[in-house]
Amino acid sequence: MIQHTFELTVDAVPGAIERVLSVVRRRRLGLRSFRAESATEGRWLVLIRAGAVPAEAGLALRQFATLIDVRDARIRDDDQATF
């Protein structure tokens, strides 16, 4: 289990956060923190700190990236986390 930070740029529309959380739940990411804040116009920046085995983290990243509302998805090791 490695700690990761997922950084997502998400359209600020109804249901978008729930869809992101659905991936967190279904991939059984060990959630440590979840933060959504207003970013540019009409977008949220979502920061998720979670633990996962590398394969599941990679799969989670791909699942985040295929969500219609997610404009950008990145992952980084937790030692680079900023919150």
Partner: protein, 567 residues
Amino acid sequence: MATLATRTIPEAVAQRGADLVWAALESVGANVVFGYPGGATLPMYDALPDHPRVHHVLVRHEQGAAHMADGYARATGRVGVCSATSGPGATNLVTGLACAYMDSVPLVAITGQVSTPLMGRDAFQETDVLGMVGPVTKHAFLVSAAEDIGPTIRRAFAIARAGRPGPVVVDIPKDVQLTLTTARTADDGPEPRAPGADPAELDRAAALVNGAARPVIIAGQGVRLARAHRELRALAERLDAPVVTTLLGIGAISEDHPLAAGMLGMHGSAGANRMVNDADVVLGVGLRFDDRVTGKLSAFAPKARIIHADIDPTQLGKNVPTAVGIVADAGAVLFALASRVARTSRPEWRGRLERDRPRPQLAAYEERVELPPRLVVRAIRETAADDAYFVADVGQHQMWAAQHLRLTEPDRFLTSGGLGAMGYALPAAIGAQLGRPASEVWAIAGDGGAQMTFHELGTAVQEGTPVKLAILNNGYLGMVRQWQQLFHDGRISQTPISSPDYVKLADAYGVLGILVERRRDLLASLAKAKLHRGPVVLDIRIEREANVWPIVPPGGANADLIEGPSA
């Protein structure tokens, strides 16, 4: 939500949001909608008569609407459309949405929602549709302004079709439907193209295949969705490699093709499972490698390196470790690989396929019973037109149909594969029939599933769809009974199920009903059903405690497959 007054917008150009719903559907060529009206969709249905290009099919239950849209989509390759009101209308859609989601069926569901000021007030017939459908849809929209209706519906269609297809919900509050606006649907530009395969990954895959002695291709639903039958056959013939299919991949290759090795997995053929077990390279195209296909994951294809190609990047590496992963449309992958691999002949490997092919003759015990299921399925196949559509429900009959229909035309087998939703067959068959009015459509169901959605026979009557519903009636929820017998020490619990008199019930709907109890009556009864111009219900009293063989025990490896009672 402010409602625009007619005095500020000339009436000649202002339209209600409700009109924009139908106009948007017309603009994308969606001319069949399966739905059921209600309070929150009253404005939509008030506007419907002004849009005669849309044919609305009044279902008997919203689950039926979703399954009909699903059957329509699978049979035509177009996006299926269904509609329901808020609250119970939307909740009733959920099973059908989940079915379409699991099986990658492009579908757009339009739901009415309570008016915006009432949302969150636990209003009459209010449910949080977006919250409810999230896990079973590709996407869901809540439309908050009338001018957004057209663009949202058009985007929903694009999303439903793009990449891995799936269902999309558009939830429209009643006040938004009533809002007057001058907005018009606009072109949204070209749809996103399917991703092209990475040439480097294709080269790696080709190198693996070229080095293989015992390659097997597994064709899934993705091959059918890509309409890539020719590309699949061309690659298989070039490699001289057997093709096994998933349940939803049936029809990807003609089942009388010499390289067609049958269905893989829990109720797949012994030959197909053995070939995958012994393969040194598996090329899986357009499938999820779900548990019914793989059996015990750690023992799946133990000697093989796996190449997995799928349009959905989230499928790669999800269930099975892959040596090469390719994200692309199945047709593009098959076509590109065919030009990269060497033409090869593998007479020994192909010979094994012939040796392991299931024998067509009935077993001795089957000869002693009046109506063994295998005989019934084959008789249906012989009776139906070569290019007929077959829609199987879920349970034992579904597996018998998958094993014994032996389809030669592409894309003629429709079933709820991933979700396994009993009650699918009749409504999906009605949808398929409306999409393919010139074709024969046969629904094959058990007596359990048939009773779940039998009321849709009323829809078939009202629409004049001449579907043939063959109920393989054994008086049991047969698949569950089989598992109770085989894996729960024979404790039969709540699986014997009574049925109504289907002939009388059919008659009450004004439909021809036929009871079949004897082998000697089977073919004549099926022929009578085929020739009848309207819907038909056949109550076929099959062998009561027949089991589906082969079977991979739950949790077992595909190699542990039990071939039959005498094995």
